[in-house]
């Protein structure tokens, strides 16, 4: 199979509901698809020691991150019978309540998309060098860490 160059997964700022809606609409022409599954990561307004998080400022080691996203894509297609798959991740500031990660998998059959989506999201959390500065109301911050 021909080797593809890694795509750029990153978008500046929050991922809008219009973008997500348009992305779904674009699949109406792919009529072999019988099931889509979508994961949307949303920034939580956690309260820590009495201070509330207002947003996350994301940075990444972009070249390595895009390479990792690419490897995750390849591994997912190898493992699951997917028709297509899209990943978008925010960089820069995303306010609490806004979307920072959009993963979209499609297949002829529903069972596949449930398993594939979890596989992709867990791999992103564990393997991709993205960093998050959680900003509090008073402009102090702490660094996010995936559990």
């Amino acid at each position: 199979m021909e080797k593809k160059k890694p795509k750029n997964v990153f978008v500046e700022g929050a991922i809008s509901s219009e973008f997500i809606g348009t992305s779904i609409a674009k699949h109406q022409t792919k009529t072999s698809i019988g099931a889509h599954n979508i994961f949307l990561g949303q920034v939580r307004a956690d309260e820590i020691d009495g201070k509330v998080i207002t947003g996350i400022d994301y940075t990444a080691y972009e070249e390595m991150a895009n390479q990792k996203f690419h490897e995750i894509r390849e591994a997912t297609f190898e493992r699951f019978d997917l028709t297509c798959m899209h990943i978008y991740h925010s960089l820069g500031k995303v306010q609490a309540g806004e979307i920072c990660l959009f993963v979209f998998v499609s297949s002829p059959k529903r069972k596949v998309v449930f398993e594939a989506l979890e596989f992709v999201v867990e791999a992103i959390k564990a393997d991709v060098p993205v960093f998050g500065k959680e900003i509090f109301e008073d402009q102090t911050h702490q660094w996010k860490q995936n559990g």
Partner: protein, 78 residues
């Protein structure tokens, strides 16, 4: 050999730089880290992984060519 050292997230904050150049003889990752921790004492209490040319490596890995070395704090994607 010439190394480009990149710092991300809390490590860029701790060192106050995002990148620096370093002239050094062939060395293991742990020898390199010792040097970097001397230069930037705040790295001592930080948890991070090391990538050489975008591949994660362990402390025994020997760097013997010009390379991009990235210090990566805990991942927080999603």
């Amino acid at each position: 050999m010439q190394l480009t050292i990149k710092y991300f997230g809390m490590l860029a904050e701790a060192t106050t730089i995002s990148e620096e150049q370093l002239q050094i003889d062939a060395c293991s990752v742990s020898e390199l880290l010792k040097k970097l921790k001397n230069q930037h004492p705040k790295l001592n209490d930080k948890d991070f992984k090391v990538a050489i040319n975008q591949q994660l490596v362990d402390n025994q890995y020997v760097i013997n060519n010009e390379a991009e070395v990235a210090l990566l704090p805990p991942f927080a994607g999603g």
